[in-house]
């Protein structure tokens, strides 16, 4: 995973926790997705401001129900890749 650039959320992303489940709507792809709690927190984090990869791991690792370090890193990498493909997240390299 590129550790230099910044990841950010696309402009028209709506997130919603609904009775313990996590939904995301992408205005770009017009898709509605049900996602894991950790992926939901990732998107909410990047909606607030852009973060670098290490900063994302740091922020998500502090959550009480976070995955362990190895699982978290692979989960975040896979999620970033998929969400960028879907137009939910953006990446700008340095």
């Amino acid at each position: 995973m590129d550790e230099l650039g910044y990841y950010s959320a696309s402009e028209e992303i709506a997130c919603r926790e609904l009775k313990g489940e996590y939904l995301i709507f992408s205005g770009f792809s017009r898709k509605t997705l049900v996602v894991h709690a950790c992926a939901f927190r990732l998107i909410e984090l990047l909606k607030r401001q852009p973060y670098k990869y290490d900063e994302i791991l740091d922020a998500l690792g502090k959550a009480s129900d976070a995955l362990d370090n190895n699982d978290l890193a692979s989960f975040v990498s896979a999620s970033l890749e998929q969400f960028i493909e879907l137009g939910i997240l953006n990446y700008s390299g340095e």
Binding site: A14, L18, E21, Y22, F25, G27, T32
Partner: protein
Amino acid sequence: MPVNPETVFVGHQTTLVIEPFVVRLKSAIPAVQSSICHLYQGHVFLSEDASSFADFHISIDQVGGARRFFRPQVQFKFDGRMPFKPLPYSQAFPFFEWGLNWCIANQNFRHLLLHAAVVEKDGQAVILPGQPGAGKSTLCAALVGRGWRLLSDEMAMIDLTSTELIPIVRPVSLKNESISIIKAFVPDAVMGESFHDTSKGTVAHMKPPVESVRNAKLQTKGHWVVFPQFRLDSSISVETISSAEAVLDLAKNSFNYNVLGALGFEKLCDLVEACDCFRLEYSHLDEAIDFFASLAK
């Protein structure tokens, strides 16, 4: 009181209030005029002049030329445009109903629209989404016949501010076997003419109850979302589904969810958050009605 085509259609034109819309309809076809007067008897017909405001300007006319004599056809016009190919003359009234569905679904961006029937009891509404063949209109007609208030058999219209359900009280459209099933299940239902050999098979309409028409301005909160599925000779089964699953399925059943974007998503989530959601498989209407009665208790 009976409504007479000669008094309602002035110069072949009438203005019909189907809350929250005003529909101006022009048609010289006697079958259209008589079905409108019969099935919309409880609605308000405005006697104002033709220049007053209407949401939808619709005409149902016979196609001219040689077609008048050989397999006559009718055409549907909305604001002077023809969005559909002509249909046989005998299908003029169902053409109006289908065309009006299209007008509401395609011209209304002020509400979130779901392909669903909606009925209400004691201020609590059930939303019955479903693709054609799921049995939502049959179930809707049966529930209305057992005292539930009809809001719509075709479209759940959701207020984008309050998330309340807005009634669009119109005749309930029944197809094929459902027609005789509802005639037997609701013997006092007032039915319109049967139209045969349409693209949907035989179609007939059940007149909405006067009480539902009278309360057509009364919005209500959604309490349940029930995805019905009629399956011949099956025993009734009810499955609780998660809110997220309901949102995904309702989004697929929406006319304008994608057009509304994030606002549509938020409002759909608001609606579902306030509801318990189920899948219902049924074969016998009595069993299904008992299930809904148990919800309303």
